[in-house]
Symmetry: D2
Subunit: 424 residues, 4 copies
């Protein structure tokens, strides 16, 4: 069965295909030689399912889209504080190649402008080999450098050399500025396809774990930082407009690529070489707007996890003979879900002595949720309830105690399946 | 039973209480007279449950926190395009009282700086009465103006008068600049409590519907725009830092208040009069950081709705005699959930002719999800399946047809409850 | 006999007459109503001789040309330090109506931009009456306000009101901002003719003394400050270009007037209503360029006073019987002339005992020159010379002493006129 | 006889000697090694007379003081328009090492900031050899490079390399940026003494002619441009303050040198290594202020050439028998002198038929003066006068004609010396 999502993507692609506005980056012949009509879009879920349309296999250089990934690698390897000391996270309201150093300090305003990306490039221990390995891990396949583009850019990278010398003058970077620029140019010349970019974006969406290789490329807190910076600084001087109209962390590149990341859900990528005045792909931006709008991906379009975490709250006959109130949860229990559970438990019928908390379908419980649940269980016991926690994965690390029993299977406590679920 | 969340808030409040850094706004005596030690925090879920600690009933003037709400009212009344024509949405990287007009055009960079807020103030038809009524609707109770603060601010609002005259010179606003400033000063002098602010924030979190009065104050798309702008422009020149470390749309005020909105989940508010160099409450910011960190509220901390929307996928004995594959969903079905369902359906055993889609626990289906589900059902029928949709709320507006049956209750199609759920 | 200068001015005027570029200021109807073809030029020497061509009697409002004159009045009345404390003297590189306040301090960058001129306006004790009297003194006739223009500008002076409010917010000015703007608008609405402006400029060129009324309107050190500021700030964002190509302190106005001042020589004025993008008269600027170029008025075109101050150095027969070396000076003796004299005296023939210093044609000796001459005379006497100083105006305040005789007439010391002057 | 000017300079030097504010440039060890107490001042007239005090023979590197001289060489060799096309002449209000490129165009704002100086450096045909030869010609002796300073600066010239790369990126310069910086660094490392600098400044003051070698290093119009730019841009972000308080075109260098040029009169130089926050010598600036103030060198302190050009206007007995009115001029006749003459001639007694114009003491007549004088002579003849022009140097290139006689000696026309000069 062909997925209707496929049809949808084809349709979206067709709708932007006729757009011919913008012009291909031509500051080096290698970039100018690209077919300006190339067009591709791919969307990859955190489970690795990919939906794609257009030339998703066409290769191009990653350019500025390398910035968030190398930023992730630098934070992973050096720690967030060390990186923040060198590069701030404030939007610059300026174009990608501007200086935007903080007055006096020589600290670039953020890692998405070239000045910041040059500094970040120097902060990955292991140099370019580590960077290439890291980008490959994000993509889930070995990537390689487009040597022709690299050579060509290196020969004319005067603005980046200016930035590197300025940073060297401030002491923000060490070594020979030309070498830093050469390394950064190499980073920008890594060849990717739209398919690769969607997969890399999906790895970010999946908390740093590649959906297919399941490698934890960087930790979730690193991803959080990267996505935060992409939100405010990823689209240069159209940051506010982008957040308003698309509403997902994103990054564009002068080669025509663009990625978007919807945390916990999906990564997307688009490719079309003609650029607008901000240096972003005209049709790529149009694709992102349509996808956000028609797929409802805007971060500020509230999903409602609070209403959906309590899977079941019903009454069963307990093996001990009495009715038992069963609260079944599922998914990842975070603050909102825990808050709802705590409220429901607090409102539980005081006459129903047996309370069962069923975590069979839960795959994670974060710190605050665990704390709230533990405290509520203590309160329930104190109020005279007998509590059974069904926790096969030992997510709560509880031990049996007075009034509290931990078990691995609901079957152990249920005499007969109850009727009359009370809804959620 | 006392909620452990209550204990948590008390604990958080206690932890910031000793902080005495910053100083109270003193540009008018009425603001300087406030007790600098006042401290309050409140957190209100989209269901209206409130958790609070400190002086949540202490009243103060709303000041700049009025900006996002009046922006919402202006968009609601005049349309987004009309408002965007007058006020852009780009971060200014500047303090709240700077000019930040776009070169030549006289268009303020965003509605969260005073220049933009002055323009927005003039765009609400009905003037201050409508504004006061609107703010009251967001709060769920009638609010009133603190006349002493209003008078005092009006007498010394030289910078705002400068801005208004500049805007008038550009033709961005009409009328007498002094009158505009007086109206805006009145808007800023509306008295609120921390409780009110948390409720107002929660109304935004709830898609514009007040959690308790259930009034739809503004439409969801208006909320989306407001929250987007709060994300990039709400915290002035600490936008990048705020998004990185707190990660929720927010707005602070010189009176010491601060609000945060986690879409679909909760609104929060804090109050403490001593301000940092950005003009935001020192302890208020600290409270927000702790709440975000410890409650896991950061927008980029991926929730994982995709994994939790398919409530059940199991096999039952169909009334028609054969086994039936049942796909039960719950919650709000958006893109990610629909994508997962479509994938599961596509992977369904072709030999199981009967397929049941159970929407009993679903409370909403957005446009893209509806489209994907409809097309998938069509494909299933085309592939020879017989499909039953259990849709008591008629969310999909399907009609019976060849191979497709719509019903209001799962009981009608299940002969006996199946065993061996296949997991999710 | 008609002066050839008259022909020259007619010729220059004719050459720019056909230029129709630029457009008349139209922000108020009263300014827009002016005949755009009006054209006038006048040049007035420090002795009050005027050469004029075109409509030099046509009246228009003085506008920004009032700035240097009121700056002069403020310094005269309050002292330079008091004025500098409120308004700096640095070029802003910006247009006339920009804020250009120094960061934090609220101190306008210079008195030629509106922000600075508003502050200066408030610093003249006696208010508008004193200002009008002062401007009239510079012009040498009673000036009056164009009430229609004043009313019209006052009604729409939003930008100036913005500036005044901003300055009031910083505490740079006191009182009610609107009143300050009204006063400043009145200052700008004073009616002048091209003839008046040339006379006002000539008063500045003449060290603050009106060439005809001989009133010392302001002191020479005030004039020096005013001309210095006109040099770097008078032509807004074309300062560097103006100094390079015209090379005389100048000030332009939105009404189409422009003045230039060549210290010690002349004042000039031009009038033509069509303005360029800097807000200066297109034909007025062209006239100034031609006058500077063709009359050799550029300040950096070195005059050579050093070569021309020693009027005569020759030998006469002294009444005492011997030859005497006579050094005759003329004009205003400043550093360069004194240096040359000192050098010549030092090189005087030691065998010529009698030395005569003839100051009959000298009209002033500045401080350094006096010091150098006195010390040289002392050295001459010490070296055995007998020195006679012919100083009818007692410029040096010398008294007779050993070896030194002061007299009022060269005739008293000369037996017979000498032959063989020794050079220049 | 010791010149009192010498005493004066010693006195001025002593007065600033105790000042220890500021700190020596230490960005390279070679500059930091200088003795911070070194102090020198020299003043050289356009006739080559030098007055000096302190360590005027101590050598240091010329650094930024090379900028105006190389700017002069570039204009001389390439023409003003070609240079203006690449580098503007507007003050930047910024420090010496800032970018200050015009938006988009990559055109540095002026040649006194490093960006502009780098471009200018590339515009001198013949490269560094020509530059060194040119600087030597300005100084009047062969200069040489301080190789140690040059090497040291070249190794750490990151900011200049940044600027050069930025300029190369804009296409404002060609070639390899590193080479341009190396050449410019070499230009800055030329060794000079305070004596040299005063002589170089004097060459500018003398219209481009070295006072002693009498070489015309650059033409007067080149000097005019250079001095104009020094006036508005020479002292970086203290331009306005400098013009107000010192009032002579100047240039400072990070090595502690500073020069000033009073056109037609003198050049001055000071040297003291400790710098203020603008990068100018603290004691050097103090010396310049004192010299300007006490020697009356401020350009806006009006000299009064108009009153001193008419040397004599008296009556003699003409050889032809009648009285003749003799008008004797001297010095350089420019506009103001010619205007005065024309006015006097026009006012001459119509009954005195014989008019004699004596140019014996005149050494130059500029274009406008020549024109005015010629036309006046024509008018006199037309009015019935008989005119004799005594013009031994043939400055006016007149030929005998009806009513006009040109001769080389006054003696030819005077019967007996007249009495009763009428004053001037």
């Amino acid at each position: 069965m062909r997925s209707p999502l496929q049809d949808f993507l084809d349709e979206v692609l067709d709708s932007v295909y006729p757009v011919t506005a913008g012009s291909v980056a031509d500051y080096i012949p290698e970039l100018a030689r690209v077919d300006p009509d190339r067009l591709a879009v791919a969307l990859t879920t955190v489970e690795g399912a990919e939906y794609a349309a257009g030339d998703t296999g066409a290769a191009f250089t990653i350019q500025s889209i390398s910035k968030p990934f190398v930023y992730a690698l630098a934070i992973a390897d050096r720690g967030l504080d060390a990186v923040l000391e060198k590069v701030d996270v404030e939007p610059s309201g300026e174009a990608f190649n501007e200086l935007s150093l903080e007055q006096d300090s020589g600290r670039p305003l953020n890692p998405m402008i070239n000045a910041g990306a040059l500094v970040v490039h120097t902060m990955v221990p292991g140099g370019f080999d580590r960077i290439l390995a890291g980008l490959s891990a994000f993509a889930g396949r070995p990537l390689a450098v487009d040597e022709a583009v690299c050579r060509s850019e290196a020969a004319t990278a005067f603005r980046n050399r200016a930035l590197a010398n300025m940073l060297r003058g401030h002491g923000t970077i060490g070594g020979e500025p030309r070498d830093v620029v050469d390394g950064y140019t190499r980073q920008c010349a890594v060849r990717v396809t739209t398919h690769d970019l969607a997969m890399m974006a999906s790895t970010l969406a999946n908390g740093g774990i590649h959906p297919l290789t399941e490698e934890q490329v960087v930790a979730p807190d690193v991803v959080r930082q990267v996505l935060s910076v992409m939100t405010t600084c990823g689209m240069y001087d159209m940051a506010g407009d982008w957040v308003s109209t698309v509403g997902i962390p994103a990054k564009s590149a002068v080669s025509g690529g663009i990625i978007g990341v919807l945390p916990g859900q999906l990564g997307l990528a688009a490719f079309s070489p003609r650029l607008d005045e901000h240096g972003s792909s005209v049709r790529g931006v149009a694709l992102c707007r349509q996808l956000s709008d028609r797929l409802g991906l805007h971060l500020m379009d509230a999903p409602q996890p609070a209403r959906s975490t309590i899977r079941r709250a019903h009454t069963v006959r307990h093996v001990a003979g009495e009715d038992a109130a069963v609260f079944a949860l599922h998914g990842a229990i975070q603050f909102a879900g825990a808050e709802r559970l705590v409220r429901d438990l607090a409102a539980a019928d005081p006459d129903t002595v047996e309370v069962v908390l069923d975590l069979t379908r839960v795959h994670s419980v974060n710190e605050i949720a665990e704390r709230l649940v533990r405290q509520t269980l203590t309160s329930l016991v104190a109020a005279g309830h007998r509590v059974t926690v069904v926790d096969p994965d030992r997510l709560l690390e509880l031990a049996d105690g007075p009034g509290l029993h931990v078990t691995g299977s609901l079957a152990e406590v249920v005499a007969t399946p109850g009727q009359g679920e009370r809804g959620s």
